[in-house]
């Protein structure tokens, strides 16, 4: 038996851990462009902020789209609830609330990550240190993932936590794509131009896929391949299809455990079936932006349904 509040805590714990890591990845990708193509840097930082869902709150606080400001806002600004340090603190507060549902190693890894981030991000980051800080954040979340996968029993507790991870990940990947969908459209793709090359690389980099892309496709970046890879490839761990494979699976486990088929499972399976039954050219034909906007809305709806089906509130 699991309290609805505990399930809710597990779900948001993992959503916020995933968010912490995504913030580091987004900045990492932005930083790469800023370092190599300084004239386009402020545009790139705007995209990063849009992907992070933090563009308007940033604009309310800063006027210059510099690496310093953006990294500060997305990593260490406590007034931004999605900043790495704020997200990690929310994750840790949730973990503390569900403490008795976690293995000791999982709890300690979260607590230590929180302490490490607090320490690293206590004062403004020297730009020379930024790559090191981003690496350290990713390392901390990887340690949490390791403890979690290595020690947690595969029961409802695990399922609810995983739902949080994949809901957040699907949302994050869809947002990254949607912010830059126009550079992926065939009509505006100047194949081989260096302009697009770095935009495309930036997209891949922000979901840690710039190397694995080459293992799956030929070396050259092609926008349809990139979109296909991030949306439909069920083996790519940050793709929409991959996320939904696991969302549907964990909801199926929960349904079996509880002896009931919940509306959330229906929704997840429907979305997963749509991802599996679609080819990338169909998506481009109906409109990439429209597809992504629909996806993001459906993903949110699934989150609401999960909360309702399992007594989160």
């Amino acid at each position: 038996m699991l309290l609805g509040r505990t399930a809710n805590g597990l779900y948001w714990m993992n959503r916020y851990i995933e968010r912490t890591e995504n913030m580091a990845r987004l900045i990492d990708a932005g930083l790469r462009i800023a370092l190599t193509r300084s004239q386009d840097a402020s545009e790139e930082w705007k995209s990063v902020l849009l992907s992070a869902g933090a563009a308007s709150s940033f604009a309310g606080k800063h006027s210059d789209y510099t690496a310093e400001n953006v990294a500060d806002f997305l990593l260490r600004d406590m007034s931004n609830p999605s900043s790495a340090v704020a997200a990690m603190e929310t994750a840790r507060n949730n973990a503390r609330m569900v403490r008795t549902a976690l293995t000791r190693e999982t709890w300690e890894s979260i607590n230590e990550a929180w302490m490490a981030l607090k320490r690293m991000l206590a004062s403004p980051i020297d730009q020379r240190e930024l790559p090191g800080v981003l690496d350290a954040i990713k390392r901390e979340t990887a340690l949490i993932r390791g403890s979690f996968y290595g020690t947690m029993l595969r029961n409802e507790i695990f399922d609810f936590a995983q739902l949080g991870t994949y809901m957040e990940r699907a949302d994050n990947t869809a947002r990254i794509l949607d912010v830059k969908y126009y550079v992926l459209l065939p009509s505006v793709s100047w194949v081989g131009s260096s302009l697009d090359n770095y935009q495309w690389e930036s997209i891949l980099r922000s979901v840690a896929a710039h190397r694995s892309y080459r293992w799956v496709y030929e070396a050259e970046y092609k926008p349809t391949n990139i979109a296909e890879y991030l949306i439909l490839n069920a083996r790519m761990p940050r793709s929409l299809s991959f996320s939904y494979r696991f969302l549907a699976e964990h909801l199926k486990f929960l349904g079996e455990d509880y002896g009931a088929r919940h509306p959330a499972q229906e929704i997840a399976e429907r979305i997963y079936a749509r991802l599996r039954g679609t080819e990338i050219k169909d998506i481009f034909e109906t409109g990439l932006h429209e597809f992504l906007a629909d996806f993001i809305r459906d993903n949110n709806r699934l989150g609401d349904q999960v909360a309702q089906d399992f007594g989160f509130y």
């Binding site: 309290l3 507060n93 503390r96 403490r99 607590n111 302490m115």
Partner: protein, 470 residues
């Protein structure tokens, strides 16, 4: 005044309960002990991480200092103590039953009516309620001090929601890790089964209509409460749910918790939320920590609340001074464990005496706790005493006074070797169809030389407490 040392009293030499430990201690390399002390800190910090991380802020998350020298009580001493404690908790429950029914003790004039009538801990909403097995206070922490070989006194009864039992368990765990060989040489009664006993005890007072194993839950104010660690720890160890008010509502005539599969009935609620916050429909209307309507379900007999609401009337410091009368009234016998002589400042003669002897007395607030708002006469400056005297004159009924007792001492390990420090003892008592007392308890120790204040909020530490199986 020389305090009684429980290991090595001034005149008598090494006391028997410590002989085996002393034999072991003599053969220890002092360097190894110091190293163990550091180990203890490390082990405790690791276990203690659990204490630390549950506090509100990292900065305010303090570890309560732990001393590696055990406080040792012989089997015989313990048997005497438990007889006294059993008598006392029986009297406390009989008193509560009486106060919420016929009030015979008031009619008999043994306790003044005004003491109950004007007391905020008296809950009219409890009038006429008789919980299963007639038990009102299920979990009690009785604070005991010793001043001589055969002199034990009860300092106070904690009959509402006593805390600290998790420290008793963690202290033993730490000692087992540090000195496994000691537990092979010396037979010490185990305390580890406390959570199981607590569970059995709570299950034994399930509501009358419940067939089969009852569903038990622990109600906490939430993760920002200072005792949250203990709430989570006990729920975990008992294998029951840790719930908050927001998880609960009245469903089908019962209090039920919201689970991922719908609402599930709760039969016994071990609550760590104060009376005033328990039910916004009955008490403080703005409380978000409680469960609206739980008092209705309770009066209808569909849930057991442990401890019952309104038990505070039994552990109030003003009531404390009447405990000898209360014990005699309900058990027909003299108390086995004595009270510390207490002057009630509400009485004119007592107030006069207290004002004249402030320099010798400890004066406490009737409703205070944690050592706050008290005056330790001998340790206070003249100015402090004068200021306190004014407060006393302004609200005499708010205070009681007691002689400064020379609490017994036990050795602690300091950088310069063993040194005596004052201690008290809180054994934990479980009352249901029978009384269970775990052999041990929480020994609190004043770490500062000469200090008599053992409260952890004021520089106190803790020790493992051994009851010998002899």
């Amino acid at each position: 005044m020389v305090a009684f040392d429980e290991m090595l009293p001034a005149e008598a030499g090494l006391r028997r309960p410590y002989e085996a430990y002393d034999g072991w201690l003599k053969n220890q390399d002092p360097a190894r002990l110091t190293e163990k002390m550091r180990d203890a800190e490390r082990v405790f910090r690791k276990t203690g991480i659990t204490f630390a991380v549950y506090g509100e802020q990292e900065a305010s998350e303090r570890l309560i200092p732990f001393d590696i020298v055990p406080r040792i009580i012989s089997g015989n001493e313990w048997r005497r103590l438990t007889q006294g404690i059993e008598q006392r908790v029986q009297a406390l429950n009989a008193f509560l039953d009486d106060i919420y029914h016929r009030q015979e003790i008031l009619r008999a004039g043994r306790v003044p009516r005004e003491l109950i009538a004007t007391n905020e801990a008296f809950l009219p909403e409890m009038i006429g309620v008789r919980p299963p097995a007639g038990v009102y206070t299920h979990i009690i922490g009785v604070d005991i001090v010793r001043i001589a070989e055969n002199e034990f006194y009860v300092l106070e009864d904690n009959a509402r929601t006593p805390s600290g039992v998790s420290y008793m368990l963690e202290n033993r765990e730490t000692m087992l890790q540090l000195f496994p060989e000691l537990f092979q040489r010396i037979k010490v009664h185990p305390v580890e089964n406390y959570p199981q006993l607590l569970r059995q005890s709570l299950a034994a007072v399930k509501p009358n209509g419940v067939n089969g194993a009852p569903t038990i839950a622990v109600l906490t104010p939430g993760s920002f409460n200072s005792a949250y660690f203990e709430h989570a720890f006990l729920a975990d160890q008992m294998g029951v749910q840790l719930v908050e008010g927001q998880d609960l509502r009245v469903v089908d005539g019962h209090v039920a918790m919201r689970t991922t599969e719908g609402y599930k009935q709760i039969d016994v609620l071990y609550r760590r939320v104060d009376d005033a916050y328990l039910d916004p429909l009955t008490f403080k209307p703005d409380s978000a920590l409680g469960v609206p309507g739980i008092m209705d379900v309770y009066r209808a007999g569909n849930i057991t609340i442990a401890n019952a609401p309104g038990t505070g009337i039994a552990d109030d410091k003003a009531i404390y001074s009447y405990m000898p009368e209360i014990i005699e009234f309900y058990t027909g016998r003299k108390p086995i464990l004595g009270n510390i002589p207490t002057w009630r400042c509400s009485e004119a003669n007592s107030l006069k005496y207290v004002q004249e002897h402030l320099a010798e007395l400890v004066v406490k607030e009737v409703h205070g706790s944690g050592g706050y708002g008290m005056l330790v006469g001998p340790a206070a400056t003249r100015k402090e005493r004068e200021e306190f005297s004014k407060k006393l004159a302004a609200r005499p009924s708010n205070y009681i006074a007691q002689p400064t007792l020379s609490l017994s001492t036990c050795p602690i390990l300091t950088e310069k070797g063993l040194a005596p420090r004052h201690v008290d003892l809180r054994p934990f008592v479980l009352v249901s169809d029978r009384i269970r007392i775990v052999p041990g308890g929480l020994t609190r120790v004043a770490l500062k030389e000469g200090s008599l204040v053992v409260n952890s909020s004021q520089g106190g530490g803790t020790k493992d407490t051994w009851v010998l199986d002899d």
